[in-house]
């Protein structure tokens, strides 16, 4: 673009360059300020988690620990004996939920995008409308259902209510719809059945969308707080976010360094995961709605 620009004389060119430099300088300054605003909590989390308790309690907080207390992390695990268990619970629940989510989503997206059946469009419209309804309405009855089924304090209570998501169905249907019709017709001519076509053609083509769904679903379990709080908060089936809250309120009520060491332990896997799958996560989120 710049190459196509012509200036009447040196002076006009210089003035243009100066203006451009100034505006770029302002843009970068603003972005750096916002980046600092975003990064400060992470910095403070890490720094506080590495302070000794005496240093963390100083009335004039230090900006960097004088002595780096790695032992805080070991202490958190030794004091909260179930912290490792909360991790495993969360991992187990997220893997089970995600497996079911993939099955339900692929099946439904396939039916809505490729099959013809009576009432297809009406059913899909109903599903879209339900995306607007606040989850609290469902939670009240689901709570009754779980308690009547005797599923309180079980993994089942944590897994099954989140085994389907209208948003994921909608998301994958869009990807399936983009597969050219000619492929389907060619497969039909070759005598390939619908389900074989799904597994041999549609899933491989839309695999990146499915990976996005898997990642978002795994992350969802890591962040789940409200539902597990209601149905599985007595101990052995507790999830990581709920465990974290009890770490704050019971185990380390007054020790900020330990609290933030626990926060760091919970946050780090998510950040590593994000950096590894950045592309998939950002693609999925830009089409989604509200977090949580």
């Amino acid at each position: 673009m710049e190459k196509e620009m012509y200036f009447a004389n040196e002076k006009a060119l210089r003035s243009y360059k100066r203006k451009r430099f100034l505006s770029q300088f302002l843009l970068y300054s603003f972005l750096v300020l916002v980046a600092i605003f975003i990064l400060i909590p992470f910095y403070w989390m890490l720094v506080t988690s590495l302070k000794t308790t005496a240093e963390a309690d100083l009335l004039k907080p230090t900006l960097f620990p004088k002595y780096i207390a790695w032992e805080n992390y070991i202490y958190v695990f030794s004091q909260v004996s179930l912290f490792g268990k909360y991790f495993l619970n969360t991992l187990f629940v997220s893997i089970c939920t995600t497996t079911l989510v993939v099955i339900t989503t692929v099946g439904a997206a396939f039916a809505f995008s490729r099959l013809n059946f009576k009432g297809r469009d009406a059913l899909f419209a109903v599903l879209l409308v339900t995306m607007m309804i606040p989850g609290e309405m469902m939670i009240i009855t689901n709570y009754m259902t779980i308690s009547v089924l005797g599923w309180m304090e079980t993994y089942r209570a944590l897994i099954f209510p989140f085994s389907v998501s209208v948003f994921y169905i909608f998301f994958l249907r869009q990807s399936f719809k983009q597969i050219p019709n000619e492929l389907y017709l060619a497969a039909k001519v070759d005598g390939v059945g619908d389900f074989k076509y799904l597994f041999k053609v549609m899933i491989p083509i839309a695999i990146s969308s499915i990976v996005t769904i898997i990642i978002l679903s795994l992350m969802g379990a890591w962040n789940a707080y409200i539902w597990p709080q209601l149905v599985a908060n007595a101990g052995p089936h507790r999830m990581i976010a709920n465990g974290l809250m009890t770490v704050f309120t019971d185990d380390f009520r007054t020790q900020q360094n330990m609290q933030l060491a626990a926060s760091t332990i919970v946050t780090t896997p998510l950040i590593v995961f994000f950096i590894a799958f950045r592309k998939y996560i950002m693609r999925g989120v830009s089409r989604s709605g509200i977090k949580g």
Binding site: Q24, L27, Y28, F30, L31, V34, A35, I38, L39, I40, P41, F42, L58, P61, T104, G107, A108, A111, N116, F117, K118, T130, M132, P134, E136, M137, M138, I139, I140, T141, M144, T145, V148, P161, S163, V164, V166, I169, L185, N223, Y225, I226, L230, A241, L244, F248, T249, A262, S263, T264, V266, L270, I271, F274, I281, M282, V285, S286, G289, K291
Partner: protein, 316 residues
């Protein structure tokens, strides 16, 4: 020919897994909760069954709605939620838009900035809420260190049960909400900006339009579908505020304020959760249902108004 084919049984197989879960955990609950909200004197007994009508109740009517609307705690929750919506939504939408426009105008480091801005999205709400609590703690917090450096006195951000404490806590909650909500807005705005045809900007430059004029006459109108989408989702998200509040106070799932006033920043969703049964209380499921239906109606009304406004304003 192929488009007219009927594959009812195949559809049944493909849809069955999703439909089983949808019916049990979504369609049925919607109906059941709505019915429950009209049942007066509803008593939940764990062995009575999952249908609301199989439990004991005295009559059908609007009594629970009246009870909710007359409950001073609900009115506090409604006021708090409204205050949060009115303050945090405009701030985060405008800031998100500004950041995205700036990001779109730079070449170097764009990826790094984008990654940094996205980080809050992939964090745990409870974990980072605790970080904000620690940053804003009165005696040894980072924020009060800054306040003192500039000659101010220490502020009791999250521990003051007076009116002053109400607003200082709102400041913390707003900071946290904006901080954690910015990522999604930037992502959507930036992808919208990148899809605007560069020719519009070329034409404006040739005509010698000023930067501000370009922003208001080209960027905003062409981005208006995204602005409308983000505004609606932010409104809905802000109406459902709950975790961010309990996270910054960090004292438990049903504590929405400092020691002197644990309902100080209770939200509508928090109010509904507090009515569910727990080890400590039998709860009040029909009142909770009425509260959740009221929340649905508020969200529908706001979404309706916004769709109406955007129909007039949004340029497609």
């Amino acid at each position: 020919m192929l488009e007219d084919k009927k594959d009812g049984w195949k559809a049944a197989i493909a849809l069955a897994p999703a439909m089983i879960f949808l019916v049990v955990f979504m369609f049925f609950p919607l109906v059941n909760t709505t019915i429950m909200s009209f049942m007066e004197g509803f008593q939940f007994r764990a062995n009575a069954g999952i249908f609301a009508i199989s439990h004991r109740y005295q009559g059908i009517g609007f009594q629970e709605y009246i009870n909710v609307l007359r409950d001073p705690i609900f009115l506090t929750a409604l006021k708090n939620t409204m205050v949060m919506v009115v303050i945090s939504v405009p701030i985060s939408v405008i800031l998100g838009l500004l950041v995205s426009v700036c990001l779109n105008n730079i070449k170097r480091l764009q990826n790094i900035f984008q990654t940094i801005f996205f980080l809050p999205y992939v964090t745990n709400t409870i974990a980072l809420g605790m970080v904000f609590k620690v940053m804003f703690s009165t005696n040894n917090g980072l924020i009060n260190l800054i306040v003192e450096t500039f000659g101010g006195d220490k502020i009791a951000w999250l521990t003051d049960a007076t009116t002053k404490g109400y607003w200082s806590a709102l400041f913390v909650i707003t900071c946290y909400t904006v901080w954690s909500g910015l990522a999604f807005k930037i992502l959507v705005f930036l992808s919208g900006l990148q899809s605007i045809d560069k020719q519009y900007y070329e034409a404006a430059r040739i005509d010698g339009a000023s930067r501000a004029r370009v922003f208001w006459k080209i960027t905003v109108p062409l981005l208006s579908p995204m602005i409308a989408y983000i505004t609606i989702t932010s409104f809905i998200g802000a109406f459902k505020a709950y975790e961010s509040v309990i996270a910054v106070f960090g004292r438990g799932s049903y504590i929405f304020g400092p020691a002197g006033d644990t309902n100080m920043w209770i939200t509508v969703v928090g109010y509904v959760y507090k009515l569910l049964p727990s080890l400590m209380t039998p709860g009040n499921l029909s009142k909770a249902s009425a509260g959740s239906v009221i929340l649905l109606l508020i969200i529908l009304a706001f979404t309706g108004i916004q769709l109406y406004v955007s129909k007039k304003r949004v340029h497609y």
